[in-house]
């Protein structure tokens, strides 16, 4: 006999949010992380403009994708109506403020630089809290999904930063170290999240998460770390080292995007239905 509160049909994969919603988390998170990393790195001039505009392109692509998923897209402005409790409203407000501020930062307005980083951070946190507020999906409502998504966004931002910095005249050594550190931090956040979510998520959701976890471990952590160590060792010349660092950046970004894709689409299993007790029929009724 099964224990109480386990009587019921199996949870099913959510179908309310499709790949377009996942793109918002993938591109938006990476873009937000890139604004933060660019500001922390203190990049100035044309390089900052390139990095910030790349970030805005990513965030804009994510928002465009999710806008396309709306049932009533021409009413999209209603999304601002409920910032009191809705993280989606807050995300929309953060994004709306971020665009002009980041454009100011790209144009070289010093005051806009830190403001855009703060707004980008707020945008990423809103995205993470948006998932956590989804009480119908056990893999999402786990509170540790928030640090996981925030660290993932920062790691992706650092990954894109490293890729771009190999093409622009800005230093790569510090950013490569930061990328390695964030990749390590991300796998730690993942392991902690995975352990916590095992208590509530359905078996097929956990299988999907483990699939993503393996990609994160090998493609998103170990391979980039190896590439960073090799590139930083001085054995290779500047050219090959730059290529290795760019590969490390791409790997970190790709693994992060894959994790978010799996989290939203493959591990998004519903709560399902459950009876705490089965009906007692017959003589006692």
């Amino acid at each position: 006999m099964r224990a109480p509160a386990q009587f019921g049909p199996s949870p099913s994969r959510q179908t309310a949010w499709d790949a377009r919603a996942a793109v918002n988390f993938m591109a938006g998170g990476a873009g937000g992380g890139l604004v933060v990393v660019t500001t922390l790195a203190g990049i100035e001039g044309a390089a900052r403009a390139v990095l910030v505009l790349t970030s805005l392109a990513l965030i804009g692509a994510g928002l465009l994708a999710v806008w396309h998923e709306l049932g009533r897209p021409w009413r999209a402005l209603n999304v601002f109506f409920h910032p009191h409790t809705s993280w989606m409203s807050r995300e929309a407000i953060a994004a709306t403020l971020l665009f002009p501020t980041a454009l100011g930062a790209a144009a070289g307005v010093a005051a806009c630089s830190w403001a855009s980083a703060a707004l980008a951070g707020a945008f990423v946190i809103c995205q993470a809290r948006m998932l956590q507020a989804s009480r119908g999906i056990p893999a999402w409502r786990e509170p540790l999904v928030v640090p996981l998504l925030v660290v993932t966004a920062l790691a992706e931002g650092a990954g894109i930063f490293v890729v771009v910095s190999t093409l622009l005249p800005i230093g790569t050594r510090g950013s490569a170290l930061a990328l390695g550190a964030l990749a390590l931090l991300r796998i730690v956040a993942w392991l902690v999240y995975r352990r916590a979510v095992a208590r509530t998520a359905a078996a097929p959701a956990l299988r999907a998460l483990d699939h993503a976890g393996r990609a994160l471990q090998w493609v998103g952590t170990l391979a980039p770390l190896a590439l960073i160590v090799l590139a930083s060792s001085g054995v290779l010349g500047n050219g090959p080292s730059g290529v290795l660092l760019a590969c490390a950046g791409v790997a970190v970004v790709a693994a992060g995007a894959f994790v978010k894709y799996v989290l939203v689409l493959r591990a998004g299993f519903t709560q399902g239905f459950a009876l705490a007790h089965r009906p007692v029929r017959g003589a006692r009724v």
Partner: protein, 217 residues
């Protein structure tokens, strides 16, 4: 105060789906959309198997997660506990779908009719405002409001009572004011063992499931 709630007697439900049909008739929901579902659950393994029929739908929660996450304020909870959707505000983002632990919500992207072309009845009752937005059980709020306005008592007078409750052949569904100790639902909850689904999530569902008689003490 008033707290409208529904009581489902799991010992009585026979899974006939009459409530589902009545709901669809009363609310003109399109094919594939059931605001009042009846789950057919099986437990155990042969030969020790059991079966239960579980009417479900929007639980009209005390703390509805759908209302919290809704970015447009389209989903609201009334003072009497009924959770409503303003179809003119909803943008169809489906955030409420993933926030609801009861899979109570549906969205239809385009008009769908039972036989392809709309019948006269379907054409008459079709509402474009419900296309591409979130929809769900309303506890037949229009019937409740209209009934109360004409002095009727929801849960007692059929015209002021949700269609699913009226239609139940086994008297497995009851509706009433949980804040009124003399109401049918208050008495049922007081006299029987009951639970609410996924109570640990803190939603405070407004549907109570009866599963046994309370022992006489």
């Amino acid at each position: 105060m008033t707290r409208w709630a529904m009581v489902v007697d799991l010992r009585r439900c026979v899974g006939c789906q009459t409530c589902t049909a009545a709901c669809r008739h009363a609310n003109a929901t399109p094919p594939g959309v059931q605001w009042r579902r009846v789950l057919d659950m099986e437990f155990g393994t042969y030969p020790n198997v059991e079966r239960a029929f579980v009417p479900t739908g929007c639980q009209h929660c005390d703390d509805p997660p759908c209302a919290d996450v809704c970015p447009t304020t389209a989903t609201k909870k009334r003072a009497d506990g009924i959770v409503t959707i303003d179809y003119d505000l909803c943008i169809g983002c489906a955030y409420c779908f993933v926030a609801c632990p009861y899979q109570a919500r549906a969205r239809t992207r385009k008009p769908v009719f039972a036989y392809g072309e709309a019948t006269d009845s379907e054409r008459k009752r079709h509402d474009d405002a419900r296309i591409s937005v979130a929809t769900k059980c309303t506890f037949c709020v229009e019937r409740i409001d209209a009934g109360m306005a004409s002095g009727q008592k929801p849960g007692v007078d059929p015209e002021a009572t949700p269609a699913c409750v009226n239609s139940c052949i086994a008297n497995a569904l009851a509706f009433g004011d949980l804040d009124d100790p003399q109401s049918n639902v208050s008495k049922l909850v007081a006299d029987n063992e009951h639970f609410r689904m996924h109570e640990s999530l803190g939603t405070g569902p407004g549907m109570y499931y009866l599963w046994d008689r309370k022992d006489e003490r």
